[in-house]
Point group: D3
Chain length 219, copies 6
């Protein structure tokens, strides 16, 4: 393989700060892939409700159509994986979701997976997805920060809540690995892992790793 | 309660024959509810792929907005329940999906539920939904007719395949109740039940029954 | 259909106050069904133990035999659904249990179902039933009031405990819908829903709704 | 311990041939326990329906009351374990069911448990019990002989059907251990195991072994 | 059967105090079996990590080879059941593990099983095993003492922690039966049961009971 | 990152042909990682029984000790993942098993995963592992070739059996993705995928992809 895999990472919300944080978190793949992080302008500021998730599926399909020829694989950078199976029907190239890949990767790092959600109202949607994936037996619990996507840029409050909720997952629910349940938490991963003493998974990082492998493998 | 519950039953595909068949199947509720069956004109001829299901969610939301004031409850007449949780966020009135209600009602009629899908490619989507509902332990199997939504109007072939697949579910997989996995199969219910000797659930009939109750109950 | 569905609702315990509360809770179905609430005189004052539940099965079968010709459907108004499958073998008319229907209906109102039991010793029995139904993945938790069936008529204490336990289910266990785990709690439903801000299901109301639909459908 | 544990084994059906076959199968415990096999005269000829199972619970409780003082432990010799939890409430001495103990013992002999039922109509009842026990993931399948309890005394036909069904469980469903789903099949165990080449569990033998241990342990 | 079953109980750790405690706990089987408790000298002082468990499998196989002719059945007296399936391949005689038998026996004594582990780091290993057994739906929770195998000889501290953790399992997680998750806790069983008011299972006692039955049965 | 990740891929059986086939299958990662495939000389010719799997754990730990400093991550190239959790305790560097990673990767390629085993007697061991992973709901079935590890070098017979078994998984069990249940099947992946028309996962390729990502990520 002479050229590096070209991965399009799509932030389905319109908050550029999230796209930038994701981009930065993916710098570890420099030299392993050409990663292109883009913002879905049609998206809402954050995917907080089911209707937010559902509303971006059609525009995501249009973006896929435009970008399909220029990329080798596609990563949906929203923990709810909006439109994942829809997009998979529309291309033969790999499409990976960060929710799916974050959880599957966590399953190689610990036995009981704790998930940190942004908002309480996001949790039933995530639990339906975990049920659809058939991995509920591995989930210790999912607990909310009660901070919205945009609010994640307030670093002090976010960091504090991440640690509080992470400790609750670890001590109250027996989680031995934690997944960040939103792409917008990427910049807090390392610090949280340090604070908790258990692995913390940034799902976008996990998904891009799996996408690079899929391109290499050609299946 | 002086007025009858007004139920809007929305066929999210654009095949009027399906809407008519559904309407006819609901005649049993005459005197119990005012039922209004409509076709989503923006829909595809049939919901056969995930992208079909996802594509109707936004138009369904718009229809809900237009019709919310005139109805007491809403029924999504597509076995994939497209946009169910999205619509629930957009109104305080009951929104019920026929996939959900058909399966739950079947669970009161037998222990092992067999499902008849239109197409093999619909099955993974349905299985994800069954996983999300957390009822996989009650599903005997789901098998396809390999007839598309439009093809269901060919009565001879459809009837024959329904009986073949129904018997396979009953004898090969131990199903003691069968759910029709598409609104467009409604007119075949009674005949199939006769042929199989086990209860056959038309999911739209099941959902409308639960919708009427919810309006009566006011919760 | 000229005549309204005739539904026999049987309270298998001998506490008339429970039968009256159930009857009142079903007034919302006036005009939709003829509902006849009766007390099983042979029953114990409350179904609190497995032996209570098992002891009423034979008398319930005798009552079914006497009343079968005069009714279109039968509802067992005890959350343990004593004799449900036994009665189903003894008639071709619909027999529904409030435990089953309450839980299934709750699954259309929220993702994580909390159950309020009367007594701690009732919970293992209920959990066996939930296991038999195959819906354990949807149960957040079941917690007891530690008030017996007869004690439920003490409105102040019952109301207070319902709110305490309901909040524990909602906040400590993530329940987003609550089921009243005893027919005798019917009169507290609306107040508890108000207090908790999540849907509260009275299982007898849910079961009668499904019974009416079944009579209409004729299957 | 000077005296041997006294175990009362109760056949809840009224077919003496079943009681005798069970008694003979328990001869292996000579010297380890005093085993008293009795027939519940009030029982039906076979427990084939849910109403049969439910009808014997009250008489079983009366027998327990009469015999409690004279025995150290009680075994219900019907695969449906009728009244198991009811009886447990009525004595502090061990009460074990052959369905429960047969399945649990099989789980130490193979990974995928096949069950041979007498009749197809018994299977949903057994599956509800397996669900209540929470062990469904270990069940390969349950298949019927379509021979009633009384018909089991026709040795040629029974032996032939046991081998047919056993091979179907082993080869078609991957069972590596088989449980006899009726106390009345006890005399066929050894021959069937020989024919199948996988362990075959007689559930009454399994339950009596666990009962003897419980008496010895005093808990 | 003229001779008593000869059961070899192997403590795979090298701590003789554990072997002695196990031996004493098995005195209830005097007259029912000849029980020979031995220490695996090659074992580590305690099986606390996965590598401890894995390291004893080959020596256990060698001990089995040496002792096979002299015994009728073999019991692995470590809750992690190291090498259980490996040993089963190496002999046609029964090999039982105390983890497996302790949990299965507990399932006949209560509905929600609580497990007391020695160390937090043992729990993921145990949970993997519970998953492999397919009985996770019956587990209320597993909580650690945070006392190592050797530390269990400190009776005051151990007793206190067992009661604390047992009460947490009972009151916080709804456990109605408790399993001691280490052979070295045997001597505390009776006291803990007294303190908790729910059955407490010593898994070695449970396993030996099942082993004796298996020898009697000859299958 | 200036240097490429150094991945040690260990074939725990002593059959060099397997190591060579694995090495060749990993050529797609040229330029992405330095991959070193080695044979565990102490291993048996094939890991076909539980005792084979267990026997290599201690030597694997010794190899890890020798090679830890020279590599960034370790991949166990045996579908049974022998010693996976033991090795993880012995190093802070990533250790991945091909069973685990093959199955998790398959879960991103289809909904119902079919597994092709070498031998029928391997299947219970694999099923215990699938249970431990908590992903049983996603497994369509596992079926054997009945060809041992060494026999896999007979290309004609192996190819034919792979296609037969693959079609049985696809058509009889509804698998929409297939995992090769042995490292030694790597050279047949592409041909089998062509023949079946559904994705076929070589688990070693999947695991190395995840290992490379883990090294890049540094967690």
């Amino acid at each position: 393989m002479t050229a590096l895999p070209k991965i399009l990472v799509i932030n389905p919300n319109s908050t550029e700060a999230v796209t930038r944080a994701v981009d930065e978190a993916l710098s570890c793949y420099a030299g392993a892939a050409q990663i292109n992080c883009v913002t879905l302008k049609e998206g809402p500021p954050g995917i907080e409700l089911q209707q937010h998730a559902d509303s971006v599926i059609v525009p995501l399909g249009q973006m896929l159509k435009r970008e399909e020829a220029n990329h080798d694989a596609f990563v949906l950078a929203c923990y709810s994986d909006p439109g994942l199976h829809s997009l998979r029907e529309q291309t033969t190239k790999p499409v990976l979701g960060i929710g799916e890949c974050g959880l599957l990767t966590a399953m190689t790092l610990g036995h009981r997976v704790g998930v940190i959600a942004i908002l309480r109202k996001s949790i039933p949607r995530h639990l339906r997805y975990i049920g659809a994936m058939g991995i509920g037996d591995r989930i210790a619990a999912e607990l909310p920060l009660e901070i919205g996507v945009v609010g994640l840029s307030d670093a002090d409050r976010t960091k504090q809540r991440l640690e509080e909720v992470g400790k609750q997952l670890r001590d109250g629910h027996g989680a031995d690995v934690v997944v960040l349940g939103c792409a917008g938490m990427a910049s807090y991963r390392a610090g949280l892992q340090q604070a908790l003493g258990v692995p913390v998974v940034d799902p976008t990082q996990a998904a891009v790793g799996m996408a690079i492998a899929r391109v290499r493998l050609g299946w």
